[in-house]
Structure formats: C-alpha cells, structure tokens
C-alpha cells in the first residue's frame, strides 16, 4: 500500500467507527433517557404507557401504606396534584413523609398508579433532589424539610 492508501484506510476506518458511534448515541438518547416530571405536569404530558420517567415531588403526609411487607404505596405531590406510587423493595434511609423524593419507573396501561422500580431520597438533611427543589420553588411551594430537622 502507498502512504496515501494507508492513510485513507486508517481515516476511513476511523470515520466509519465514529459515524456508527454517533448513530448509536442518538438512538440511545431516543430510547434510554428518562424525562423528569412533577405530578402537576403529567396531565398535559400525555405519556404513552410504559414510558420511563422520573417522578419527583414531596411524599404526601399520611399517604405511606405498607402492603404485604415489601410493597409500599405512597403519594407524590407537588401540592397541585398527587400521583399514587407503588414500589416493591427497600426504601432509602432518608425516605420520609413530607420530604423530597424522586421515583423512577412508568405507568401501566389503564391505571393511574405509577409503578416505581427505583426510589431516591435526599442524601443528607440539607439536600433535596435538585430537580424537585427547583420545580417546587418554581411553583411557590415552601420547602420545610431543612428547618424541621436542624
């Protein structure tokens, strides 16, 4: 092979691989990404059943019910609307009523219940998931969690 051909082979291979990578990334963005919603957004969002989303808000006071031990139901609220959530598993250490939470999962067709497979709570007492805090602040909800504890 001449110098030019060698260079072409290497550059061609590289460009081909990069193109494949870009296509793959674009495909993955369309498939494997979860959007963040608060309960008030859901009405106008019209999600297809099974779409993975992150649902954020406050755990509604008095809404936490334990089923047969491992399944827990609770409501996530942004004070405008509330969404019932079921979750099977162990809730994070910092999961509490009246505190910020992010649940990841999807709605099942024909049911208003959000089935979560991951529940994230705050990492420590001064931290509320940022997504939740921003949205709630935007809606004028006062965040009381921090003061309650300290």
């Amino acid at each position: 092979m001449t110098r030019k051909q060698k260079r072409l082979a290497i550059i061609g291979g590289g460009v081909g691989f990069l193109t494949a990578a870009v296509l793959l990334v674009m495909f993955a963005f369309s498939q494997a990404v979860a959007y963040f919603y608060v309960p008030g957004d859901l009405a106008k969002a019209s999600l297809a059943p099974g779409t993975r989303i992150r649902l954020g808000g406050l755990v509604e006071a008095g809404s936490v019910k334990r089923g047969d031990g491992k399944t827990v139901t609770f409501s996530v609220t942004d004070t405008l609307a509330a969404v019932p959530v079921t979750y099977t598993g162990i809730l994070p250490d910092l999961f509490r009523e009246g505190q910020g939470v992010v649940a990841e999962g999807s709605f099942v067709a024909g049911s208003p219940v959000f089935v979560a497979d991951t529940v994230l709570a705050k990492h420590d007492e001064t931290y509320m998931p940022k997504d939740v805090a921003d949205r709630l602040k935007a809606q004028g909800v006062t965040l009381g969690g921090k003061e309650n504890i300290q």
């Binding site: 963040f36 250490d93 990492h123 940022k130 504890i149």
Partner: protein, 662 residues
C-alpha cells in the same frame, strides 16, 4: 495562631507559584540559567508551604478546634481519630486543599526526579504546573478558605456526613486525586513541548512514567470508590453511571488511551501530535471532573457545597486552561514534525484502534454526562441519563476493543500478520469458547450473551498469557531456556500482560454479577429461613447497640448450607446522633469470590422486618481485576527502561533528533 500561619503559608504558596510560573519562562527566553534553575527551587518551596498549610488544617481537625468554621461544620469531638483526619478532605475546602497539595507534590517530584531532563524543558514543565497551582491556590484563598474562623467558637461540631465516616473515604479521595492530578504532569509536558515547538521519542519516554503512575493511582481510586459505594450505601450496586463517577472514569479512559499512544510515539516516533493532544485532553477531563463535582451543578454525595461563585470560578479556570491549551495546540501543532509510517495491520495500527475506541467511548460518556445539563440550560427539560444509555452506547462500543486487545501485543511493529496472530491466539479463543460452553452446561442454559461474555473474559486472560509464553519461546525451545527467557523478559511485557489479564478478570466479574445475581426482598420474622445462592439464611432477631457517635439496630442472621451452619451475618441500621441521620450498614459475607449481601429495611409493627438479600456471584473479580491492572501499572513502572540508563540514552536521542531537525 497556628491556623493563621497555615493561611499565611497558603498565601506565600500563591506568591511562589506566581514566581515559578513567570521567571523560569523569562529565563528560558533570555538564556539566564539562574532564572531557569529557579523553577526547581520554587516547586520544592511551594510543596513545603502547601504541605505545612495542610498539616495545620489536619492539626485543627485532630484537636477539634471548632473556632475554625470548616472544622465545626465537618467534625465532632467524639469522632474516631481516623475519621477526624479523613474529615479534612471530606468537605469542599479541605478536598480542594488536598487537590492542591497533590498538584504541588507532583511538581516537586518533577523537580527532584527530573534531573536528567533538558533544563529548558524542565523549566517550561514546572512553569506550566505553576500556572495551574496559582489558579487553584487563588480559588481556595478567594472562595473556599478552610482557615476561616468562627467567633465565638461553638462547643461542639456538626459532625461529618455519616456515609463519609468510613475507611473507604479515608483512602478513596487521596488515591483518586493522585490519579486525576497526576495527569497534570502530562499536560504540562505537552504544553512545554508546544512552547518549545519540538517533540520526539524521548518526550514520550519522559511522559510515560507519569502517565503510568497517575493511571495506576486513578485505577485504584476508582475501584476503591466503587467498592465503597457498594458496601456503604447499602444498595448493592457497584457502579451507577452517576455523573460524579463518570467524572473520574473519563480521565481514566483518556489516560488509558494516552498510555498506549505514548507507547507508539516512544517506539516508532509516530502519533506525536495526537499524543500531545491526548495529554491535554486527559487533564482537561480531570479539570472538568473537578468542575462537575465541586461546582454543585450536579447534586450528589460529592457536592459538598453549592455556592455559585465557586462554580463560576472553577468554570473560569476550566475555560482558561482547556481553551488556552487547545489554542496553543492549534497554533503550534503544525510545528511538530510527524513521524513514522505504518501499515493499518500492525502494532501501531492496533494501538490506533485502541485509541480510536477509547476516545470515542470517552466522548460517549462525556455526551451522556453533559447532555442533561445542556438540555436543561437550553430548553428547561429535565432528563436523567442513566445506566440504560451508557450500557447501550459505551458497552457496545467497547466490545470490539475487548476482542482486539490480545491481538495488539502479538502484531509486529510497522507491518503485522493478522493470520499468524490469529493462529497464535487459537488456544485462547478455543479455551474461551470451551469455558463458555462449560458454564452454559453447568448453569443449565441461561442467557447466551452472559456466557459469551465470560468466555470473552477467559479469552482476554489467556490471550495475555499467550503473549508472554510466546515471547519466552515456550514450546519452541527447551523448558529451562524458556524459563530463563521468561525471567529475562522486560518488566513492561509483564505489565502489559497483567493489565490485560486484569481487564479480563474485571469483565468476568461484571458479566457474572449482572447476569447471575439474585435479589430477594422479603419480610422476615425471627426464625424464618430464606435461600440465596445455595445458602440458607435464618433471621434470629434484632438487637440494639451503640457506637461512639451513633445508635444502631442490628439484625442477626445465621447462614447455613445443607443444614450445617457456615457463618453469621450482622446487618444494621444506624442513626448518627449529631445529624439525626440514618444509614444502612449492610451485612456482607465473602464466599470465595462471591458475596452474600444483606441490608435491612423498615421494621413492621408485628416484629418482622423487610430484608433485602443479594447473592453476588464472582463480584470480587470486579475489584480484583482492578488490583491486577494496578499491579500491571506498578510492574511496568519498575521497568529498567523508565529508570536507569534510559534518561542518558534519551538525551542522546533528543540531541540526535534536534540535530536532525536543524
């Protein structure tokens, strides 16, 4: 008083860094030896000053001096001594001071170990290091002063975040920073090369040990962090594709690419410009990581502070250094002569493939990490890019690299023979497939992809061994000769083999855990039995206890196999009194390379408790593989070529190259 001295030392360190960043450059221009030699002295002084400053802060923590705001916010007099010390870097201000300490430590190392470097190159490298040091010292002094006082001094501190009170945290950040910041030396070497407009194989030979050392520490730091998250957070996961994890993983990927491209440059004088660019990019990713973690744009356990001025300041540092370095590169890269020719199928070709895939994979991780931030800034939409995205893109892109890894060392430089290489790998491929078939048979089927993944890991391990065996002439010469040749192989050959074996081991661990782990969530009452991974766990009941700064409820489990008691597991939930913060202390027992992992959930009113039990098959391979990779790095670092003799040969080569260039 001593606190103010620490603060003052930091101010002096800033002054020293400014001197070190300007005067040696002037000296190089004017040919003034005194100014050129000043660089080394200034680097040493800078290190001593920052080390003193760091020691003062540590002293404040150890003596629980709550008149220092930083100590009050992050320490507690009842905390065990080791966590008082590790608490120094368990917060924003202290961890930035550690970052700086490690940066000036590396400068001092260059100053003292770089005796064989040409003086002008050394002066330029140290000046570039000093620019970074000056920027970060200024950052600490202006926005993150750890020595700020609190009047009046409170009687008791607010304690360190309990999840950070762990031996893992004591080791993880220093190791990670040694890696992250270690790449600054490569960056400074790249800047120096661009400033001088001259670069040759000797340059690669000087840079490679630094890259290797940084890479080894970063490997250790990431593995440590992963293991810490695994046992401390109680979620049973070992990697979450969390932006903060990605922030450390990206420099690792780019650094791995850098190690390989520097190899081509050192041996064949090719890929020069690319290697310089990679050196710049690797440290840029370290800086980006620092920005992501420290600025508070991401919320995570690592984001100690969310003060916007800090974010803007680090962003400015980021823009100046990355932008400046890349502009310098754009202007000066054409001055660097490009090097040797090679066929696409050759050792160089294989290393180019390695670089192509690793940098593309880095770019994917970068895209996935930054996209949510960019999207939110542009449209206000909030999305989460998590494991599904990264597994799909990163996982798929890395696959061809894993297949190609054993081929690299078997191909000759310049022009390789892929058919011959495949023939030599016949045993490794065959054994990999056989092993996969055996696993498939033993598990009565199961996911085919997982089985093939494990086979791929075996192939990687055997492929690396094949290379060493062939080099010692095994099978071609008498056993004793082969043994002597084996012992005589350069250390770097063992380094390569170990690193590749480690990759195979980690891969096996990842595949086994992903495909074969079992998870049981169950409500247990005392006396109840649950099976996991062939073991049977009996819940014996709860017990209350307390430690120095927490109270805990501990569940006791008896593990038996075939009716015979094997071991016991204690798993607890703790409540740290200073912050009223609950944490989970998972109960973990190791069986060979596999583990049983028990974490507790909420107690029921009827005396039962929710328990989550995982069986994690071969999980220790994940971190064990990282240890083997590290061993590879260390063995390679001890290669003669990088120590004795090499520098003198290198200088000769440099002179020759300089002569040729004129």
């Amino acid at each position: 008083m001593i606190i103010e001295l620490g603060h003052y030392a930091l101010v002096l360190a800033l002054a020293t860094a400014l001197i070190q960043s300007v005067l040696p450059l002037v000296g190089v221009r004017r040919g003034d030896r005194a100014l050129v030699e000043l660089a080394g002295t200034a680097a040493t002084v800078s290190f001593l000053l920052v080390a003193f400053s760091f020691a003062v802060l540590t002293f404040a923590y150890v003596t629980s001096d709550f008149s220092v705001r930083n100590v009050w916010e992050n320490s507690h007099s009842l905390k065990p001594l080791i966590y008082k010390i590790s608490g120094v870097w368990g917060n924003h201000e202290g961890s930035m001071l550690l970052w700086l300490l490690i940066l000036v430590f590396f400068s001092a190392l260059v100053a003292s170990f770089g005796r064989n470097l040409p003086e002008t190159l050394k002066a330029n490298v140290l000046a570039a290091q000093a620019w970074i040091a000056a920027a970060f010292t200024l950052f600490i002094l202006l926005t993150s002063n750890p020595f700020a006082r609190l009047v009046p001094a409170p009687g008791e501190g607010r304690d360190l975040n309990p999840v950070l009170q762990d031996i893992g945290l004591a080791i993880h950040p220093p190791l990670l920073y040694l890696g992250y910041v270690g790449f600054s030396v490569c960056f400074s070497f790249a800047i120096a090369a661009l400033v001088e407009g001259r670069i040759d194989a000797a340059w690669a030979r000087w840079v490679r040990p630094w890259a290797l050392a940084a890479w080894t520490c970063l490997t250790a730091g990431i593995a440590m962090g992963s293991y810490w998250a695994y046992y401390e957070l109680g979620w049973g996961g070992w990697w979450f594709w969390d932006p903060v994890e990605n922030a450390s993983f990206m420099p690792w990927l780019a650094g791995t690419a850098l190690l390989h491209s520097a190899l081509v440059m050192e041996k064949r004088e090719a890929l020069k410009i690319w290697t310089v660019l990679l050196a710049i990019l690797t440290f840029s990713l370290s800086l980006l990581g620092t920005f992501l973690v420290r600025s508070g744009v991401l919320t995570s356990v690592h984001a100690f502070a969310t003060d916007p001025t800090r974010g803007v300041f680090i962003l400015a540092i980021l823009v100046v250094f990355i932008g400046g370095a890349l502009s310098l590169f754009a202007f000066r890269a054409s001055h660097l002569k490009s090097g040797g020719l090679f066929a696409p199928i050759s050792r160089e070709g294989a290393l180019v493939l390695n670089n192509l895939i690793l940098t593309t994979a880095t770019a994917t991780v970068l895209t996935g990490t930054l996209y949510p931030l960019v999207l939110e800034a542009l449209t206000g939409d909030k999305i989460s890019v998590g494991a599904p995205f990264f597994n799909m893109t990163f996982g798929l892109l890395m696959l061809p690299l894993l297949f190609a890894v054993p081929f690299g060392p078997l191909l000759a430089w310049k022009r390789g023979d892929i058919a011959a290489a495949s023939q030599r790998l016949f045993v490794a491929v065959g054994a990999g497939l056989l092993f996969a078939a055996a696993v498939y048979y033993a598990r009565n089927g199961g996911p085919v992809l997982a089985v093939l993944g494990i086979g791929l890991g075996v192939y990687l391990i055997l492929g690396a061994i094949t290379d060493v065996a062939l080099r010692s002439g095994l099978g071609r010469v008498a056993g004793s000769v082969a043994w002597r040749r084996f012992l005589g192989l350069p250390r770097s050959a063992f380094g390569t083999a170990l690193a590749h074996i480690g990759l195979g081991v980690t891969l096996i661990g990842i595949v086994a855990v992903t495909a074969y782990e079992t998870e049981t969530v169950v409500e247990m009452k005392p006396g109840m039995l649950v099976d996991a991974g062939g073991y049977s766990l009996r819940f014996d009941g709860m017990r209350q206890g307390h430690g120095p700064n927490y109270t805990e409820d501990t569940g006791h489990f008896t593990v038996s196999r075939g009716g015979v008691k094997v071991t016991e597991i204690w798993s607890s939930k703790r409540l740290y009194s200073a912050r009223l913060m609950p944490t989970t202390e998972a109960g973990i027992r190791t069986f060979g390379l596999s583990q049983l992992y028990v974490s507790l959930g909420d107690g029921m009113t009827d005396g039962g408790i929710v328990v989550r039990i995982w069986w994690k098959p071969l999980i220790l391979c994940i971190w064990g593989g990282a240890l083997v990779m590290m061993a590879g790095g260390i063995v390679s670092l001890s290669d003669r070529r990088l120590r004795v003799g090499a520098p003198s040969r290198a200088t000769k080569a440099a002179r020759l190259a300089a002569g040729a260039a004129e």
